[in-house]
């Protein structure tokens, strides 16, 4: 029964506090930060290893894998955002790799940085800044005017829906990964309780040994850890691409409209 008592579902643990004070609170280094540094280091080393000693004619298997990944990422971005945004491929691939590897950390029993809302809030803010940048490219007037479309009364709702984009993005990712890790914690606790109850007759330490924790959690882990993690990484990247390309289209439409209006004005003056 001690498994249930030991069951604790917590957020990221605070590893140590720094003396820096920001907004009346001490800046702390949490488990999720340290684990995301590990992920960043791992991805960087993976890239370095895969692209090490490249040749024009690929000889090693490493280079073939690296070329395969780069080609897939570029094609993925091109097919979803169009030929013009092929330059986004590194950003999208980096986001996807970071998200996937962060979530996959939970396989090793480590705290995955993506089940901390702060990590994903950071990514969502980056995406929001990019969306706003591409909308602002069409001019500040056009950007502000787009909030009063189709009629002026809807302005507050438009502002809310604009702000809801990053919030829903981060809650979606966080909720999926966090619910997976909560369910996995419950599954582990339940299995150890079950084996403690069933094998109470065994002698000595064997009575406390959680037999059911061997192998059985794989079924759940396959769905909640692996499938869920990869799916959320894919969806986050996909939504980022769709939002950015639609924002760029909006910006371009606003710019074209402004140009047209200027030409019309010019023509009227000439007449």
């Amino acid at each position: 029964m001690n498994a249930i008592e030991n069951l604790n579902i917590t957020g990221a643990k605070i590893l140590f506090e720094t003396p820096i004070v920001l907004f009346g609170q001490k800046l702390v280094i949490t488990e999720s930060q340290v684990n995301s540094w590990i992920v960043i280091l791992f991805v960087a080393i993976l890239c370095k290893v895969l692209t090490h000693n490249m040749k024009i004619r690929p000889e090693s298997r490493r280079q073939i894998i690296a070329e395969f990944i780069v080609e897939k990422a570029t094609n993925f971005v091109k097919s979803n955002m169009g030929e013009r945004f092929a330059g986004f491929a590194p950003f999208i691939a980096a986001l996807m790799a970071l998200s996937a590897f962060s979530s996959l950390l939970s396989i090793f029993g480590m705290f995955s940085p993506t089940s901390d809302l702060n990590t994903i809030a950071g990514w969502a803010v980056v995406v929001f800044v990019m969306i706003t940048y591409y909308k602002l490219k069409g001019g500040l007037g056009g950007y502000l005017k787009s909030f009063t479309q189709p009629i002026f009364v809807l302005t507050p709702f438009n502002i809310i829906s604009e702000l809801a984009t990053p919030i829903s993005m981060m809650f979606r990712h966080f909720g999926n990964i966090c619910s997976g890790s909560v369910i996995m914690t419950l599954v582990y606790a339940a299995l150890s309780t079950l084996s403690a109850v069933l094998f109470r007759w065994m002698p000595g330490a064997l009575a406390q040994f959680p037999f059911f924790q061997i192998g059985v959690p794989v079924v759940f882990s396959l769905y909640f850890d692996i499938f869920g993690s990869l799916l959320q990484a894919f969806i986050f990247a996909m939504l980022t691409m769709m939002y950015i390309s639609s924002a760029a289209e909006d910006g371009e439409a606003a710019r074209a409209e402004r140009k047209l209006r200027k030409q019309n004005k010019h023509r009227k003056q000439e007449e």
């Binding site: 979606r172 909720g175 939504l239």
Partner: protein, 86 residues
């Protein structure tokens, strides 16, 4: 006594918040059923239908996730907040 009421109310509230899971369940089931129909009709479109379906499912899931987050807040944040004030 107040402590017990706060904990019980939080647990009941978290359970009620997860009723939100019904909506995405029905919606995603419908979407997956339609995707299966589409694949059955045109098996060559399988990959694009699947990726579009997964994206749509993820978007439809948002309301359920909001319910889950409210449940998490009720379970882990509000009890401590209110018990601390007692």
């Amino acid at each position: 006594m107040e402590r017990a009421i706060i904990l019980a109310a939080s647990a009941v509230g978290a359970g009620l918040a997860m009723i939100a899971g019904i909506g995405p369940g029905i919606g995603e089931g419908y979407a997956v059923g339609k995707a299966c129909e589409a694949i059955g009709r045109q098996p060559e479109c399988k990959s694009s239908v699947t990726s579009t379906m997964l994206l749509g499912c993820a978007v439809a899931e948002t309301t359920g996730i909001y319910g889950f987050i409210v449940a998490l807040l009720l379970m882990f944040v509000t009890p401590n907040m209110f018990i601390g004030k007692l």
